[in-house]
Symmetry: C2
Subunit: 130 residues, 2 copies
């Protein structure tokens, strides 16, 4: 499988695949003419990467999962390093959820306060160019 096919099958771009490779996450073979050649296992790897990035992981966080898959496991989650990252990320998400909840409350308070204290001393809309 060449890079274009993998990109399409994984739902991403060739640029992205080369980017992952530059960061050590994907390791294609090379054919005689220098083309990158991928096997089916790499497709799973790329999908794993995409799934984790979608959830908010960074490339560095993804590495253990890729290594875990490469080690022959059915899931990239089952290795100690992966579990450690999962724990950390869960904690980060919880923390962020907390702060975001606080922000939400503050916004809600500001909004209700603003609606209660409507005033008319407000700036005129500036007209667009003539």
């Amino acid at each position: 499988m060449l890079i274009g096919e993998l990109a399409e099958r994984a739902g991403t771009s060739t640029r992205t695949l080369r980017y992952y490779e530059a960061h050590g996450l994907v390791r294609p073979q090379r054919s005689a003419n220098g083309y990158r050649v991928y096997d089916e296992a790499e497709l799973r790897v790329v999908r794993e990467i995409r799934a984790l990035l979608d959830v908010g992981f960074g490339l560095d966080d993804v590495r253990p999962f890729v290594a875990c898959l490469r080690a022959g496991n059915a899931s990239g989650d089952v290795c100690p390093d992966s579990v450690q990252v999962l724990r950390r990320k869960l904690a980060e998400v919880d923390d962020y959820l907390g702060r975001l909840g606080a922000v939400r409350q503050q916004l809600h308070a500001q909004l209700t306060h603003a609606i209660a204290h409507r005033e008319e001393t407000c700036p005129r809309k500036r007209a667009s160019a003539p």
Copy 2:
């Protein structure tokens, strides 16, 4: 008040104040030697900006609040444009809270699954440089 004093009183840097000015949020006077001169009102403006940025607003979102303050209101929140931004931001935060909650659940599921299915087929730790 010169830029250094304002920066200290507002808890930011001079670089930040010049940045805000470049984006039209702060309008200092100029003294004879070309120095920026700020009054007390600008201090309130800068504090408003900082407060909103801390909550996750972008500079563009902040503009209506600054204009509202400049129009003579005690709070930057009470003008229609500000209220509109507050509503939009609240909606954005709610949306994000929803997706982040889903992510949290997925992470939790992955984690419990991973712990249940521990396997030993995992990559060896690579040693550090000799």
